[in-house]
């Protein structure tokens, strides 16, 4: 495991050559700041709301990797006062699906900081997120000597067909995709890395019902008190050293955990799926996107009679999709 970690570190340092700085404002980062990193590609339509959402939570500085966008994403980000952007035109796949790039940025800029690593369609929810900023959570985690914070990805979907209602720039995607599955998730433990492997939800129910083992993983550990010895191994599903993956209790109790609301299943999915399928730059040769592109041609409706309409984090807590744990 140590070798694997060293190899990851080596890779990410080597892949720094892919990155060219577009706009760096990292000198503004202060000691207690909470950071956010993300790898994006042609996401300009999503970014205004994304930035607004995380600024409201109290994220102080954003670190973006712009992977060859041609829709003005880079320029838009470079204009933001609290955003640093690097451009990478190299292969996303060969950078282990972008992980090498973010590992490098984390290693360089996030040492000693709490940092969120999310995709531009993932929105972080934690207990009391409506009344307490993310700093309250990280201070509390610090006082408990906890280094990482676990979440589950919750796929949100609209009432009708996915492509029925168009998304406009700056809009809250959850005005369209308000619904989610509350109780069809399957968990097993991954003994290699000690993390949980969660599958299920609407994508497994609709796209992967004949092949559930291929359904995407929903376990994520997006919030970490970073140290330059740490690395993400596969997306944000698992980290090394392994102790960071222990975000769950094994003796019957509940640790504090959150959720990532996933605004993927809206009308931008179709274009994305077709584009990514052609590029073949995603995990399992974009097999996931291939399934979407095929499935999307039949105008799928994820919504069913038992879909749950999203209200707030307390609802997720009661449903058992996250937990306040010991934080009151």
């Amino acid at each position: 495991m140590r070798l694997r970690r060293k190899r990851r570190i080596f890779r990410c340092v080597r892949k720094r050559r892919d990155l060219t700085a577009v706009s760096t404002k990292t000198q503004n980062i202060e000691r207690r700041d909470v950071l956010l990193t993300s790898v994006v590609r042609n996401e300009k339509i999503r970014l205004p709301f994304f930035l607004e959402y995380y600024r409201r939570l109290g994220v102080n500085h954003f670190l973006f990797v712009d992977n060859g966008s041609d829709d003005g994403t880079g320029a838009f980000l470079a204009d933001q006062p609290d955003v640093s952007v690097w451009r990478a035109d190299a292969s996303y796949k060969r950078a282990t699906f972008g992980i090498d790039w973010s590992n490098y940025l984390l290693r360089k800029y996030a040492h000693g900081h709490w940092v969120l690593t999310v995709d531009p369609d993932e929105f972080f929810i934690y207990p009391f997120c409506d009344t307490r900023p993310v700093r309250a959570l990280t201070d509390w985690l610090d006082s408990c000597a906890v280094r990482s914070f676990g979440t589950m990805l919750i796929d949100m979907y609209p009432r009708g067909p996915v492509e029925a209602e168009p998304y406009t720039e700056g809009q809250d995607p959850f005005e369209i995709a308000r619904w989610f599955d509350s109780g069809n998730y399957m968990i097993t433990k991954n003994h290699d890395y000690g993390n949980l492997w969660i599958q299920g939800g609407p994508r497994a129910r609709v796209f992967f019902r004949d092949n559930p083992s291929k359904a995407p993983a929903l376990n994520k550990i997006p919030l970490v008190k970073w140290d330059r010895r740490y690395v993400y191994v596969s997306s944000t599903h698992s980290l090394l050293p392994r102790g960071l993956n222990q975000v769950y209790d094994e003796w019957g109790g509940e640790k504090t955990s959150g959720a990532l609301l996933h605004a993927k299943l809206i009308d931008t999915l179709g274009d994305k799926a077709r584009e990514e399928m052609e590029r073949g730059q995603h995990y399992r040769r974009s097999g996931e996107y291939r399934a979407y592109a095929q499935g999307l041609d039949d105008q799928p409706v994820f919504w069913c009679d038992w879909s749950e309409k999203y209200i707030n984090w307390r609802q997720l807590e009661i449903l058992g999709l996250m937990s306040k744990g010991n934080w009151a």
């Binding site: 009391f128 309250a136 509390w140 998730y185 019957g252």
Partner: protein, 566 residues
Amino acid sequence: MSKLGIVMLVHSALHRVEQVARHWATAGCPVVIHVDQKVSDEAYSELAASCADTPLIRFSERHTCQWGGWSIVAASQSAAELMLDTFPDVHHVYLSSGACLPLRPVSELVDYLAERPRVDFIESATTADVSWTIGGLDQERFTLRFPFSWRRHRKLFDLYVRLQRALGMRRRIPKGLVPHMGSQWWCLTRQTLSAILQDPKRKVYDRYFRRVWIPDESYFQTLARLYSTHIESRSLTLSKFDYQGRPHIFYDDHLQLLRRSDCFVARKVWRDADRLYQSFLSDQAGKMKPAEPNPGKIDRVFSKAVERRTRGRDGLYMQSRFPRHGSENGLTCFPYSVFQGFAELFEDFEPWLTETTGGRVHGHLFAPNRAEFSGGETIINGALSDCAKLRDYNPTAFLSNLVWNTRGERQCFQFGPRDTQKINWFLARDKNAQVSVITGAWAIPLFRSNLNFSDIRNEAARLQQIETKQLEVLNSVWTKARIRTWSLAEFVETPMEPLQAVVGEIGIQNQSHLTQTPTMVDLSGFGQFLQNLKNQGMHPYLMGDFPSDDVFGNQVRPYPKPYLVR
């Protein structure tokens, strides 16, 4: 000048310290602040300069404070000495921290103490009586030596404790002292406090407590017992601890809770809880009626948090709760019933069971081609799908999800050797499962089928083998489920008694006895059918003894009217 003096021990968030100190000083209370030596000189002098305009705020000699070490006591001592020397009018001294926030107007606290001039408020209990010690050190705090920091040199700390235990090393407790422990936040009278600080034997005591574990929770608590005339063993500071002994932190959304607690001072308050600082430090005279502190409401919130963290919600599997084998506290969250062989034996078992029990009765949930949800639904609570592949990908998750999603409603389902067998261990280990099995009833559909006899024979052998294995699991020594088994012959002879027992446990709606009975299928010829199987070389044994002549099938119908005393 007020008769109440405040001692503050601080180490961070100095802007909050100034705010709170000014609040006390404005109300006329002198304040002595001890700033940890670890705070940079720059920050310290900044704080000192900005407080310079208030003569009531003083700063005491600085010590480097370490959690669990003597230095915190030394800091309190020097700050308290400065307080007593500089402000001769002070009658009570209140020890607080930088994260403490006064909840009620200062005048109320002053009046409260003025009415109790001889009372020392200090939580102080003998080691035998406390339950809050974390780490198992209670009496040993006073009899072992602790030269190593628990936070920084945990291994050395543990090693040295073990060494002393092994060698039987014991320290002598100074004569006259009875070790007491309690919250480190106290409020003592000048008389008691000065007696402690000016004790001729103080050097002896100090040397002793220097090597006691967490002396800030025992030094004043023990010595106050020597001098005080009236100890109220409670802290005036509201402080809640989690299961690891760390104080809970208060945030903006606790505002109402704190208001209603009627406590004088709360700890710890998050440094960026602007709303709390703003509302409690503003002038709020007369907002509250004089009342005794009542932290009961807050207690409930925080004890719930502790329970959630240590026990969790039974039957829930999620990203932050995934118990190991055996630590589940119940594999599911609500009782449910499993019926095996009943639907084969009775023609209308499912509608009958629904009507009798009011529960939700599913068909074979683990049938090979789909999960037969009640009412033929394809998707049920929690968006759980009937797709067999999804279900069989993780059958135990399917079952625990089903029970979790429908918690509060009794679930019943049919099971049998034709179904996916992967849940048997889960069923057996789950104390919420009530499993009723009529062994060998799987033969009835074969008996009534129109298959070739050789196929029937093969199928019978297969099913019998599966059910035998299943029964081994259900009857294992690890079984926690409520298991009942009857052989088919046994059951057919007196069907009402077992039915009544099973249904009674679910909680029957009309308590007296079963009025309606399900209709049993016609079994005439079944004995001969079994005999035929035997003649073909198979050995059907799970059904029990059916006579091969047909009398039996004819005898049972109509079976006697239900009449039974439970």
